[in-house]
C-alpha cells in the first residue's frame, strides 16, 4: 500500500495493470501472453512441441526421400547435412523435451494436490525461452542466402556438433553459431523448469502425500529434473568452449595449439548420456500411469519401479564413453564403460517386468492410451536390447557410425518416448480440453504409426549390419541397400499419414458436442477427481492423502477376493457446496517472464552479427529481471 502512494502515475504501467487484470479473467491473447498458470503453460508447451514435431517430421521425410533410391538428387550434400542436423536437434530439444515438459506442467501439480508450481513466473519464463530458442535456431535456415533457391543457412555439423568439424576452419558461416547459441538458450529453459519441478515436488505436496505415496509419473518428473539440473551445465560449458573457439579464437579444440577434439566428445556425452534418460524417463512415467488404469490394477512393484528410475539416473552418469568406444581411449576405459553400460540394462529390465506384471491378470480395457503404452513396452524392449549389443565393445566397433545405431536410437526415442507421449496425449486430453479424442481415429493412428514405424526402422538394423554408414547424403547402387531404403521411406510416409490422422482427430474432437466427464477412464490419481477441464485454482479444497492411488481408494474398497467394490460416497467432479472458491488467491499474471525471455535471443543474435545488439538484449534482460523482482507475486 505504501508503495502505491509513492509511485507517480504512469500510463504504461497503468495499461499493463489493466491488461493483467483482464488477463486474470482468462480471456484473450493477453491472458496467454501473461499467464503463469501451469495448465496454460503446459498447453502452450504441448502445442508448440507438436508444431516442431511436424517441422522435424518434414525434415525426416526429406531425408527419406533423398535416401529412397541410390544416387538420388532430391537434396544436395550441403542441404542434406543441414536437414539431418536440424531433424535431430529439433526432435530432441524442440519436441521430446518440451512434450515431456508439457506433461510435467499439466499433470504434476494436479497429481500432488497443489494449486500451481513453486515458481509460476519462472515456469512461464521457461516456456517463452523455449519458444525463443526454437525460433532462433530455425531462423538460421534463412541466413544462407535465398531459401527459395535452396540455399540454407541452418547448422550442418550434426546434432552432436563434433569438433573440429564445428570450428571455423571447417564450418565457416553462422550455422554452427546458431546451433550453439540456440542450445544455450534452450538449456536455460530446461534448467529453469528442472529447478521449478524439484522445489514443487519436494515442497508442495498435499498433506499426507509422502514421497512414497506420489504417483510414479511425479517420481519420474523429480528424477528427470535432477538429471537436467546436473547435466545441462556440462553442455553449457562445452558450448561456451565451442563458441569461444569460433567467436574469439580460443584453443579448446585446436589441436595445433595443444587442444583435443576428444574434450568435446567427453563433454558432449557427459551431458548426452544423461540427456537420453531425460528423454525417456518421463515417457516411462506416463506408461506407469496408463497401464494400471487400463488394467484396473495397481502398478506392480511400485517401490521397485521407483528405485529403478533412481538407479537409472545415477548409473546414467557412468556410461557416457560408450559413445566413444572407437576413439582410442584404451582397453581399460572401454572395458569399464562396456560393463557399466551392460549393467544399466538391469534397472530398465526391472521396470519392463513390473509393467508386464501390472497387465498380467488385470481387467484390460483396450483403449488408445493402452495401445500406445503396450507399443512402448514392445518397442523400447527391442531398442534397449540393441543398446545392449552396443555395450559389447568389439561388436560396437562394427556398429559405430552405421545405420544400426540410427535404428537403435529411433527405436527407443520414437518407439519409446514418442509412443509414450502419445499415450499421455490420449489419456489426459479429456482432462484439459473437456473432450475425448475419438477412439476409432486413435486406433487407426496407432496402427498406422506402429506399422509405419517398424517399416521405417527395422530395415535400418539390417542396413547397418550390411555396412551402410550414417550421415551420408547418398549411396551407390549395388551395395544391397536399395530395397531396404525404399521400404524405410515407405514406412516414413506411413508415419506421416498417421500424424495426419492425429491432426484430423484433434480437429474433429474440437467440434464434438459431448463433453468428457471428470473421470472417463476410472483413474487412480488425483487429477481425475477434478472437473474436466480443470478450474483455474485446481482444487477447491486441498485434499488430504491417505495412501498411494488415494483417489482410487476413495472410490473403491476391496471385497474378500481383492476385487474393487464401489464405495458409496466416492467420486469426482462434485465440489462440496460449502467451499467458497472466491477466497482462493492465485498468482497474478505477469509480463516479465516474456520480456526477460526476449533478451536472450537478442543477445544471441548480437553475438553473431553485431555487439551493439548484445547491449540491447542485455538491457531487455535486465529490465525484465528487475521488473520481475520488484513486482509482487500477486496483488
Amino acid at each position: 500500500m505504501a508503495r502505491a502512494a509513492e509511485q507517480k502515475p504512469s500510463p504504461i504501467l497503468d495499461a499493463m495493470r489493466q491488461i493483467r487484470e483482464d488477463a486474470a479473467s482468462y480471456r484473450g491473447i493477453w491472458s496467454w501472453i501473461t499467464t503463469v498458470d501451469h495448465k496454460r503453460i503446459g498447453i502452450m508447451y504441448g502445442v508448440t512441441a507438436l508444431g516442431f514435431f511436424l517441422l522435424g517430421g518434414i525434415e525426416a521425410l526429406l531425408i527419406r526421400l533423398q535416401l529412397s533410391t541410390p544416387n538420388a538428387r532430391v537434396l544436395d550434400p550441403d542441404q542434406y547435412n543441414r536437414i539431418f542436423t536440424m531433424h535431430g536437434t529439433t526432435m530432441i530439444f524442440l519436441v521430446v523435451m518440451p512434450l515431456s515438459a508439457a506433461f510435467f506442467n499439466l499433470i504434476t501439480p494436479l497429481m500432488i494436490g497443489a494449486r500451481d508450481v513453486a515458481f509460476p513466473r519462472l515456469n512461464a519464463f521457461s516456456y517463452w525461452v523455449f519458444l525463443a530458442g526454437g525460433i532462433f535456431m530455425n531462423a538460421s535456415f534463412f541466413t544462407g542466402g535465398n531459401i527459395l533457391h535452396g540455399e540454407l543457412g541452418a547448422p550442418d555439423a550434426g546434432w552432436f556438433g563434433y569438433a573440429p568439424l564445428t570450428l571455423n576452419r571447417f564450418s565457416p558461416g553462422e550455422g554452427v553459431d546458431f546451433w550453439a547459441l540456440g542450445l544455450q538458450i534452450l538449456g536455460i529453459a530446461s534448467m529453469a523448469s528442472g529447478f521449478n519441478f524439484i522445489v514443487t515436488i519436494l515442497n508442495m505436496r498435499a498433506p499426507g502425500m509422502t514421497l512414497f505415496r506420489m504417483p510414479l509419473f511425479v517420481w519420474m518428473t523429480l528424477v528427470t529434473s535432477f538429471l537436467i539440473v546436473f547435466a545441462m551445465p556440462v553442455i553449457t560449458v562445452a558450448l561456451f568452449e565451442l563458441l569461444f573457439d569460433r567467436l574469439f579464437d580460443a584453443n579448446f579444440f585446436n589441436v595445433a595449439k595443444g587442444g583435443t577434439p576428444l574434450l568435446w566428445q567427453h563433454m558432449f556425452w557427459l551431458f548426452g548420456h544423461p540427456e537420453v534418460y531425460i528423454l525417456i524417463l518421463p515417457a516411462m512415467g506416463i506408461v506407469s500411469e496408463v497401464l494400471p488404469t487400463f488394467a484396473r490394477k495397481p502398478l506392480f512393484g511400485y517401490p521397485f519401479v521407483v528405485f529403478s528410475g533412481i538407479a537409472i539416473a545415477f548409473m546414467s552418469w557412468g556410461v557416457w564413453a560408450h559413445h566413444m568406444f572407437t576413439t582410442g581411449l584404451g582397453a581399460i576405459a572401454n572395458s569399464a564403460f562396456g560393463v557399466s553400460t551392460i549393467l544399466i540394462a538391469i534397472p530398465t529390465g526391472v521396470k519392463i517386468f513390473n509393467w508386464l506384471a501390472t497387465l498380467w491378470g488385470g481387467s484390460i480395457s483396450l483403449k488408445t492410451p493402452l495401445y500406445f503404452a503396450i507399443g512402448f513396452i514392445a518397442m523400447f524392449t527391442i531398442g534397449g536390447l540393441t543398446g545392449v549389443t552396443h555395450s559389447i565393445v568389439p561388436s560396437d566397433y562394427q556398429q559405430q557410425d552405421t545405420y544400426y545405431v540410427v535404428a537403435h536410437f529411433h527405436q527407443v526415442l520414437f518407439g519409446g518416448a514418442i509412443f509414450g507421449l502419445f499415450a499421455g496425449i490420449y489419456y489426459w486430453y479429456p482432462k484439459f480440453t473437456g473432450r475425448m479424442l475419438y477412439e476409432g481415429l486413435g486406433q487407426v493412428q496407432f496402427w498406422l504409426m506402429f506399422i509405419g514405424f517398424n517399416l521405417t526402422f527395422q530395415p535400418m538394423m539390417i542396413l547397418g549390419l550390411l555396412g551402410m554408414p550414417r550421415r551420408i547424403y547418398s549411396y551407390p547402387q549395388g551395395q544391397g541397400w536399395d530395397a531396404w531404403n525404399l521400404v524405410a521411406t515407405v514406412g516414413a510416409f506411413l508415419i506421416a499419414t498417421s500424424v495426419l490422422i492425429f491432426i484430423i482427430n484433434v480437429i474433429a474432437t474440437a467440434r464434438r458436442k459431448e463433453r468428457a466427464e471428470a473421470d472417463p477412464w476410472d483413474g487412480r490419481t488425483l487429477e481425475w477427481s477434478l472437473p474436466s477441464p480443470v478450474p483455474a485454482y485446481n482444487f477447491a479444497k486441498i485434499p488430504t492423502v491417505h495412501a498411494l492411488d488415494d483417489f482410487w481408494h476413495q472410490k473403491y474398497a476391496e471385497d474378500e477376493s481383492g476385487r474393487p467394490v464401489p464405495v458409496a460416497a466416492g467420486g469426482s467432479g462434485e465440489e462440496e457446496p460449502e467451499v467458497d472458491v472466491h477466497g482462493i488467491h492465485m498468482p497474478s499474471p505477469s509480463f516479465f517472464p516474456l520480456i526477460t525471455a526476449l533478451g536472450l535471443p537478442i543477445i544471441a543474435t548480437g553475438l553473431i552479427y553485431d555487439p551493439a545488439i548484445v547491449a540491447v538484449g542485455a538491457a531487455v534482460l535486465v529490465v525484465g529481471i528487475y521488473g520481475w523482482a520488484l513486482e509482487p507475486a500477486s496483488e
Binding site: A118, F119, M191, F195, I198, V199, L202, N203, M204, R205, V229, F230, A231, M232, P233, V234, T236, V237, A238, F240, E241, F244, F248, D249, A250, N251, F252, A256, K257, G258, G259, L263, M267, Y626, A629
Partner: protein, 194 residues
C-alpha cells in the same frame, strides 16, 4: 503476525532457499567443468607465455584475501538484518560490494597486464583456459555486486527489514559460493603451477 512460508512446505524449508541451493549445486558442475578443462590443458602449451612468467602471486594473494574477507562482511550483513540492525545491514552490504569491486578491479588489472605481456585467448592453452575460467568467475562476482547494490538500495528505502532477511541470506549464499570457487581457483591455478 505473519507465519513463515517455510512452515507450509513439506520439507520445512522456504521454496526460494531450496531453489538457491539447487542452483549452487548445478553451478558446481559448471565451474567444475571449466576447472577440469584448465587442469586437462595445464601442461599442453606449445608456446609461452607460461603461468610462471606472468603470475604476480603477492598481488593475487591480496585480491584473494579481499574476496575471502568479503564473505565475513557478507555474513555480518545477514546477522545485522536478522537482529533488526538496519544501519549495520547497510554498512556491511556496501562494504561487501566494495570489496567485490576491488576484487573485480584487480582481475581487470591482471587481465590487462597479462594481455600486455602477450597472453590472449588464442595464444596458447593457458590463455584460453585461464581467461575463460577466471572470466566466468569474474562475471559471477560482478552479478553478485549488482545484487548486493540492489539490496543496498532496497535497504536504503526501508524495504529490507527483518521480515525480508531471506533476500540477504540468499544473496549471501550466492556470494559465498563465488568466494569458494575462487578458493579452489587460487590454489589450483595460481599456487599449483605446472
Amino acid at each position: 503476525m505473519q507465519h513463515s512460508p517455510a512452515l507450509e512446505t513439506n520439507t520445512g524449508v522456504d521454496n526460494r532457499k531450496l531453489l538457491m541451493w539447487l542452483f549452487l549445486a548445478s553451478e558446481c558442475l559448471f565451474f567444475g567443468s571449466l576447472i577440469g578443462a584448465y587442469l586437462l590443458y595445464r601442461d599442453k602449451n606449445v608456446t609461452g607465455p607460461y603461468p610462471k612468467d606472468l603470475f604476480d602471486i603477492p598481488f593475487t594473494s591480496v585480491s584473494a584475501f579481499i574476496l575471502l574477507m568479503s564473505s565475513v562482511t557478507m555474513v555480518l550483513a545477514l546477522a545485522a538484518v536478522q537482529r533488526g540492525d538496519q544501519r549495520g545491514l547497510r554498512i556491511w552490504l556496501l562494504t561487501t560490494a566494495f570489496m567485490g569491486i576491488l576484487f573485480v578491479s584487480g582481475q581487470a588489472f591482471e587481465f590487462t597486464e597479462f594481455h600486455r605481456q602477450g597472453l590472449s585467448l588464442s595464444t596458447n592453452m593457458f590463455g584460453t583456459t585461464f581467461f575463460v575460467l577466471t572470466g566466468f568467475h569474474g562475471a559471477h562476482v560482478t552479478v553478485g555486486i549488482l545484487i548486493l547494490l540492489s539490496l543496498f538500495v532496497m535497504a536504503w528505502r526501508g524495504r529490507l527489514t527483518q521480515a525480508e532477511s531471506l533476500h540477504v541470506e540468499l544473496a549471501g549464499l550466492y556470494w559465498h559460493f563465488v568466494d569458494i570457487v575462487w578458493i579452489v581457483i587460487f590454489t589450483l591455478v595460481y599456487l599449483i603451477q605446472p
